[in-house]
């Protein structure tokens, strides 16, 4: 370690501990520390820190505040949607229970500032107090005065207090119409691949060598870095898949140093992980179970979407197919597709000059009920359906969110629907009833 953090007013030991916990964030913590100044000195009234997810914004703030033992309140705007909760938390953290209890039932900003002023006249700040707001972008959804008031809290309460806002959204998207006290902006850049490698390698397992773990991280980044740079997510993926990586070594088949063989073993596995656990289609627990099952069955690991084909009644499947066709085919082509003895269909018959994109790019179009039924009867063919249950099946498809009922502003209008399933899904459904849907789709003629 060369460049240690240095700052008068703080103990070297504490600064040392800070530095150890913040690899690759030396520059940012140094800038923050120099802005904060010595504990008793004033800091800028509000500081806005932005940067991508898991770029260490909260981490740096917490480590600094904790290790340097600075008075602070940390809150997440997720939990403090209402101002009242926020006021309570701040007073509680900075002044204790009695102070928080002084707030009236549905406290306003005015009450908060009054209680704050009263408390800080009783115990004047000997050091800067910090209020850290995580996920500050949510403040924009709160009461319109909350954000501007927090930004100039120092002026409003006349205390040595600094408000730190953390967000992954740039400040430009926060500024109210009539302006406000502008916070000091600080950017936390994303970690480079090398930095991610360095940070992740620190989590190494004690029973394996540092090089071994580091080569594992290298492979992991090779697979995921082009898609995901989120340190937290990568760390999670690393932990989940490490045992699989170690397997050949543990079984004595491969030596720790044989990176190439290890890579061949783990890479396909990680790619599968990208399609499943990374997408949250399976939970971490399920993924671990699947890894174990795989050893026995050597079956293919598929995403949950592939597993969960909802079992639908026979006619419901045709209804869904009809709905899909109605959603993606132009109505004027229905005759050609569904009239008996239509002869050969040529796409050029329908082509209009201004059709620039296919319907599968634009998404499903709404259709009325009678069109759905017309298509349904023609695709279901001679396998005739009892009309009565058709309507209840439609409504259960809506309940299952496979069909969406489009709200009709016009009261006179009959209800319209849209099909809400993907192409893959409908193809799978069609296969189970031996219906070749692609032949009936205008886009694929």
């Amino acid at each position: 370690m060369t460049a240690l953090l240095q700052h008068p007013g703080y103990e070297d030991e504490s600064l040392q501990r800070v530095a150890e916990q913040l690899p690759c964030r030396e520059a940012q913590s140094a800038v923050l520390l120099s802005l904060m100044g010595q504990p008793q000195q004033y800091s800028y009234p509000s500081i806005f820190i932005y940067g991508h997810r898991a770029s260490g914004k909260s981490h740096v703030m917490h480590v600094l505040l904790r290790e340097l033992e600075l008075p602070h309140a940390t809150l997440s705007c997720v939990e403090c949607v209402s101002g009242v909760l926020l006021f309570e938390r701040v007073l509680l953290s900075l002044f204790g229970h009695e102070a928080a209890a002084l707030l009236p039932r549905s406290a306003s900003l005015s009450d908060f500032v009054r209680v704050y002023r009263q408390q800080c006249s009783l115990s004047p700040a000997e050091q800067t107090r910090f209020i850290v707001m995580e996920k500050a972008e949510l403040l924009r959804d709160a009461d319109a005065n909350l954000l501007p008031a927090l930004l100039r809290l120092q002026e409003l309460v006349e205390d040595n207090v600094t408000v730190v806002l953390l967000s992954e959204i740039a400040w430009d998207k926060f500024r109210p119409n009539t302006g406000c006290f502008e916070p000091l902006l600080l950017h936390f850049p994303d970690y480079s691949k090398g930095e991610l490698q360095q940070i992740l390698s620190q989590d190494r397992h004690p029973s394996y060598s540092a090089d071994f773990y580091s080569s594992y991280i290298n492979i992991l980044l090779g697979v995921f870095y082009s898609v995901c740079r989120d340190l937290r997510e990568l760390r999670h993926l690393a932990a989940l898949n490490f045992s699989k990586f170690c397997e050949p070594v543990a079984e004595g088949k491969v030596k720790e140093t044989d990176t190439h063989k290890l890579w061949r073993n783990i890479e396909p596995h990680l790619k599968k992980a990208m399609q499943t656990v990374y997408l949250r289609e399976v939970s971490s627990l399920q993924w671990e179970q699947m890894q174990q099952m795989e050893e026995k069955e050597t079956g293919v690991v598929r995403g949950l979407s592939a597993h969960t084909h909802i079992e639908l009644p026979y006619y419901s499947k045709f209804l869904l197919i009809a709905a899909y066709l109605a959603s993606y085919n132009p109505a004027r082509t229905d005759k050609r597709f569904f009239l008996k003895h239509h002869g050969k269909i040529k796409k050029t018959n329908f082509l209009k000059k201004n059709e620039k994109t296919s319907n599968h790019l634009l998404g499903p179009k709404p259709f009325p009920l009678d069109r759905l039924l017309a298509i349904f009867y023609s695709v279901v063919d001679n396998r005739v359906a009892p009309t009565a249950s058709i309507f209840s099946q439609i409504s259960s498809l809506v309940t299952l969110q496979l069909l969406a009922q489009v709200s009709h502003e016009d009261q006179l209008d009959a209800p319209k629907y849209k099909c809400a399933v993907s192409m893959d899904f409908i193809c799978a459904i069609s296969r189970t009833v031996n219906f070749d849907i692609v032949k009936y789709l205008y886009d694929f003629l």
Binding site: Q6, P8, G9, V31, S34, L35, G37, Q38, Q41, Y42, Y44, P45, Y50, G51, H52, S108, L109, S110, R114, N145, P148, A149, R152, Q154, L156, E168, I169, A170, W171, D172, T178, G179, C180, F181, E182, L184, L185, H187, P189, D190, S192, Y225, S226, V227, R229, M274, Y278, L279, E281, G303, K356, T357, H360, L361, L362, G363, P364, A404, K418, S422
Partner: protein, 434 residues
């Protein structure tokens, strides 16, 4: 450090730097009142005169202080109050009520706050009033002095004045202005606002009761004055414990302001905003770079501070996107070019991306659709793309119409700065059509 033979107190450098930080942070962070505000002498005189008439002669009045953010409106008022209260008589009789539109968000809260600041909570007790006017009248009556012939003058200060105009029926404003026009009790109403069009927000009956006195703080600073202000804001006062250090520091600041590169940077700031507050932010960033090892502000510090102030946030965020996300942005750019800014959905973007992949032999970017959708949604979370208004929440995620919140040049610039951007991706971005 050169050896000094100072006659007066000579402090260690560490001590001096701490003192410098203390003093300048009071100015730049704490917004401490200046001993004498610069460049607003006439406004100061005007306001002081007005408030004196209320405080000493018991005349009522109303006035608005209008100026852009950070122009020194609040500071002006506070300086005037400080000077006003040097007068013994004023100090004895004048009562102050400070309200802020950010805090007192409706008239009920405002009235409670007025009662509290006038220390009349006990006098009011559980009394119930028929109207706002009655309540306010009661408060003012309660302030009458022992001889009962005259009331004590009250100064009402309404910061963020424009926000009070949004209160229901503008009751508070109506009543305050009404009292200030009648001889009921001597009050002065001072509104502070950054809205130049503030009078248009007032209802007719409110407006007609306002004196129409306005004090404007429109910055007409020349660049030379601006430079001078930089110097004074950074200079140490006479009372600094180590006068030699102070002398050196102040000389250093003078040299700094004379530097060509510094002047250029300051010119840029001057062009974008002349207000003192944004200058303070710039200078604070400089000050934070002063340490025992480097007990002075150098031109390089100002350059670095300026770089931070002008940092392009969007470019910063684009730098941290994954290559997949960057590719999606490029696909959106092409769609924007082809369809002249019409909104797009995920399917279209994916399709555009696929067209790019098909032209390549290797398949390092062949991701499953859900992985791409996740990347797409991340871009939405970052607000780099935004759903078109009114595009129904019922639409499937893939088909929701979106707009790109970046323009052509921002994307191209981001691409240049993107670390290790693959050449084929760069070429794709630069090709005229997807």
């Amino acid at each position: 450090m050169s050896k000094r033979t100072a006659k007066d107190a000579h402090l260690p450098v560490g001590e001096c730097v701490t003192q410098v930080q203390d003093i300048l942070r009071q100015r730049l962070c704490h917004q401490r009142l200046p001993d004498k505000p610069e460049g607003v002498e006439s406004q100061h005189r005007h306001l002081l005169e007005l408030l004196k008439r209320t405080a000493i002669h018991g005349e009522s009045n109303s006035v608005l202080i209008v100026g852009p953010r950070g122009a020194g409106k609040t500071m002006l008022l506070k300086c005037v109050l400080r000077d006003l209260l040097e007068d013994k008589e004023a100090q004895k009789s004048l009562l102050q009520v400070h309200l802020n539109g950010l805090l007192q968000t409706d008239d009920r809260i405002a009235l409670k706050e007025i009662t509290r600041q006038l220390h009349l909570e006990n006098v009011v007790g559980d009394k119930v009033f028929g109207s706002f006017a009655e309540n306010l009248g009661f408060l003012l009556e309660a302030l009458k002095k022992g001889d009962r012939s005259s009331s004590r003058p009250v100064l009402f200060i309404l910061d963020e004045f424009d926000l009070f105009a949004h209160h229901k029926n503008q009751t508070l404003l109506y009543n305050l202005f009404d009292v200030s026009q009648s001889a009921q009790a001597p009050i002065a109403v001072v509104g502070i606002t950054c809205r130049l069009d503030v009078l248009e927000l007032l209802e007719k009956r409110v407006k007609s009761r306002f004196s129409h006195r306005q004090i404007h703080l429109l910055s007409s600073l020349t660049f030379t004055q601006y430079l001078e202000r930089v110097r004074t804001q950074l200079s140490l006062p006479d009372g600094f414990p180590d006068s030699r250090f102070a002398q050196d520091w102040n000389d250093g600041v003078k040299t700094l302001c004379g530097d060509k590169s510094v002047e250029e940077v300051l010119q840029r700031h001057y062009n974008s905003s002349k207000d003192v507050r944004s200058l303070h932010m710039l200078l604070m960033l400089c000050l934070s770079r002063v340490s025992v090892a480097k007990p002075a502000i150098k031109p390089a510090d100002l350059l670095e501070a300026s770089r931070l102030c002008f940092a392009d946030a969007k470019a910063n965020m684009l730098h941290g996107l994954s290559i997949l996300e960057l590719c999606l942005i490029i696909a959106m750019k092409h769609l924007n070019d082809v369809y002249e800014g019409e909104p797009f959905n995920h399917q279209m973007v994916h399709n555009e991306f696929k067209k790019f992949l098909q032209r390549k032999s290797n398949s390092m970017y062949n991701f499953e659709q859900p992985v791409i959708l996740k990347a797409f949604e991340h871009l939405q979370q970052l607000e780099l793309i935004r759903p078109v208004d009114g595009s129904s929440a019922k639409t499937q995620r893939e088909y929701q119409l979106m707009r790109l919140m970046l323009d052509h040049s921002q994307i191209m610039e981001a691409l240049q700065k993107y670390p290790q951007c693959p050449t084929d991706v760069k070429q794709w971005a630069m090709s005229a059509f997807g």
